[in-house]
């Protein structure tokens, strides 16, 4: 009996020593991220995953670690994962979806030594006395406007098709911005908008693209991970596509003209800095064109290819 007790004490001491040993490495900044779709979605989740990889490259693997849970569209599952990560002592838990906010309000006060962040939103819940939540948003209407202006320059039918998921958040901002950009360039343009009511209904998004083209659209755009089906339709029927959130050129290089790409590093860098200095939350960050959190990645192949094709087909009249 006594022997067992001794063994228990020895084990406990060795665990203590081991954990102290790891404690010496505590400088490593540990991040956990919960994402609604897959890290390879070429949209919202991938933009965050790519940004975390960039930060890891900058800081070095020994100083920056991150783990992720993907496809956490069910809020209850996501909340369980957020709580698990927090109790494992991560420095920062990123709840990458506007549906996760209410879960954070529940969880964050229980873990004062962990920082939480979520988006897209501007609410840090500081009005509820919570001090360890950051928020971030994407001013996607800025890049949407740029894409809209470009689209208006390229369209011949002057009919534009937009496919959005749910009329909220950065999706709505992007769609409104795109519309504004087109109308500012060509006031008589017809911008048709379709909401699928889902972030993941590839079949509906693809059928929406077909319908847009049927009513005359020759330029399409859309947001959320379900647009891959619509990009496929654009490629098949030879109409132009503008992407947002991540660089979607690889899906259909011949028709993707430009993408607004989210670069979350401009949000993550200052956030990590603040956490290291002891501020656990309370600030809202935004991706903008000004801080280069939004970038317009132009795909020369589609843009130049189309201009050349138009000259060959005599659609462009070069005035000399």
């Amino acid at each position: 009996m006594k022997c067992k007790k001794n063994i228990t004490i020895i084990i406990m001491i060795s665990i203590l020593i081991l954990s102290l040993g790891f404690g010496a490495n505590a400088k490593t900044f540990r991040v956990a991220v919960i994402m609604p779709s897959a890290i390879s979605d070429l949209a919202f989740s991938q933009s965050m995953y790519d940004s975390l990889l960039t930060i890891q490259k900058e800081m070095g693997k020994e100083n920056f670690e991150f783990v992720y849970s993907e496809n956490m569209f069910v809020v209850a599952d996501a909340a369980a994962a957020i709580r698990d990560y927090a109790s494992e002592g991560y420095d920062l838990v990123i709840a990458h979806g506007s549906q996760y906010g209410s879960s954070l309000v529940d969880i964050a006060p229980d873990f004062p030594n962990t920082s939480f962040t979520w988006g897209t939103s501007v609410n840090t819940f500081s009005d509820q006395g919570i001090t360890n939540i950051f928020a971030y948003e994407a001013r996607s209407e800025e890049g949407g406007y740029v894409c809209g202006v470009l689209a208006a320059k390229l369209s011949e039918s002057n009919v534009y098709g937009v496919i959005g998921p749910i009329e909220t958040g950065d999706a709505k901002l992007y769609v409104d911005g795109f519309k504004a950009g087109v109308l500012a360039t060509k006031p008589d343009a017809q911008v048709n908008v379709n909401w699928t009511g889902s972030f993941s209904d590839v079949a509906l998004a693809s059928e929406a693209a077909q319908t847009h083209i049927n009513v005359g659209a020759d330029v399409l755009t859309g947001t959320a991970q379900m647009v891959v089906g619509a990009i496929g339709v654009a490629r098949q029927r030879g109409v132009l596509w503008f992407g947002t959130q991540a660089d979607q050129t690889s899906i259909a290089p011949e028709v993707v003209v430009a993408n607004q790409v989210y670069d979350w590093t401009v949000v993550l860098r200052p956030m990590i800095q603040l956490i290291r200095e002891g501020t656990m939350g309370g600030t809202t960050y935004a991706l903008t064109l000004a801080n280069e959190g939004l970038k317009i990645v132009v795909n020369q192949e589609a843009l130049v290819g189309k201009t050349i094709q138009d000259i060959i087909e005599g659609k462009i009249d070069i005035e000399l």
Binding site: N192, S198, V215, G232
Partner: protein
């Protein structure tokens, strides 16, 4: 006006295609007394295997074959669980769904990694028929898997009502004891219908990934398999009414898309509810007809010695 009707009808036919394969497969299974709620999982596996095969080989027929083989394997698995092991069918179906969802996502992220497109089955104009005004454009300029889905309706109707095999299937689903006493092999019939259902679910998935959408993404089907099961009840276990149900649901969906695209001022939240509202209204209206499911549905066969 003509262009609008053609556009909506073509959309509806495309949207109905995966439902038709999956629902008719499920109808045959249920008629023999086996409820399979795992359709969506099998569709995802079929969609992935077809997509992956086409991505690597460029051969569409090989892709279709891959979906058929994978669908058959899943059908065997479902039959083994439900028929041989006599598991609770509703629960085991959910298990198969989650397994298919998880496995297809895992295989996609490890074997493909990022979203890519493939060139799927191209539209195939049927000579003469495709020249008929309006009708030709709507029905006879689709891809081969669309034709297959619609051809399946009369074929399955004939098989179920005019052949000894169909009679055996229905007998096994209605009165397994009587069928057994007449020498019908209940296990063999149920294995056959469930494997056939798996194959058709696999093709349903392939119709998305290599014919209609030409991409694969995690959870590509987005719950279509469950709508397909609902359509079996809607269609009262008859291929013809399953077809009507699938077309009704997809036509309202196509109209809903068109209403939004044309900027007709109805909130999108409402238009998106339309296909479901119409389906529920029709179901409620049909409730008076009192169509009963196969008597032995969801009941494992125990031979009373």
């Amino acid at each position: 006006m003509e262009a609008i009707i053609i556009g909506i009808a073509k959309s509806a036919i495309r949207l109905a295609t995966p439902y038709l394969y999956a629902s008719i497969g499920e109808t045959i299974g249920q008629l023999s007394g086996v409820l399979n709620l795992g359709v969506d999982g099998v569709m995802l596996m079929g969609a992935f295997s077809a997509f992956y095969t086409v991505l690597r080989t460029g051969n569409l027929w090989l892709g279709l074959l891959a979906a058929i083989v994978v669908g058959a394997i899943f059908g065997l698995l479902i039959a083994f669980i439900n028929v041989t092991l006599k598991a609770e069918q509703g629960i085991s179906g959910i298990g198969v769904y989650i397994f298919g969802l998880g496995l297809s996502s895992l295989l996609f992220s490890t074997m493909v990694g990022t979203v890519q497109t493939v060139s799927g089955f191209p539209p195939l104009s049927i000579p003469l028929l495709s020249n008929i005004p309006v009708v030709g454009e709507i029905f006879f300029q689709q891809n081969i898997l669309v034709y297959g889905a619609f051809a399946l309706v009369p074929i399955s109707w004939f098989m179920l009502t005019k052949t000894p095999l169909g009679l055996s299937i229905r007998a096994v689903g209605q009165h397994p004891e009587a069928a057994d006493s007449l020498g019908v092999n209940i296990l063999r019939i149920r294995y056959f219908t469930v494997v056939l259902g798996g194959i058709l679910s696999g093709i349903a998935g392939a119709s998305l990934s290599i014919a209609l959408l030409n991409v694969f993404q995690q959870n590509l089907t987005n719950g279509m398999g469950f709508i397909a099961v609902a359509l079996v009840y809607f269609g009262a276990w008859r291929p013809k009414t399953v077809l009507i149900g699938a077309l009704l649901f997809s036509t309202v969906n196509a109209i809903q898309i068109w209403i939004q695209v044309k900027g007709i001022n109805i909130p999108s939240d409402f238009t998106l509810m339309l296909p479901y509202i119409v389906t529920i209204v029709v179901l409620a209206a049909m409730a008076k007809r009192r169509i009963h499911p196969p008597a032995a549905l969801n009941k494992p066969f125990e031979r009373g010695e």
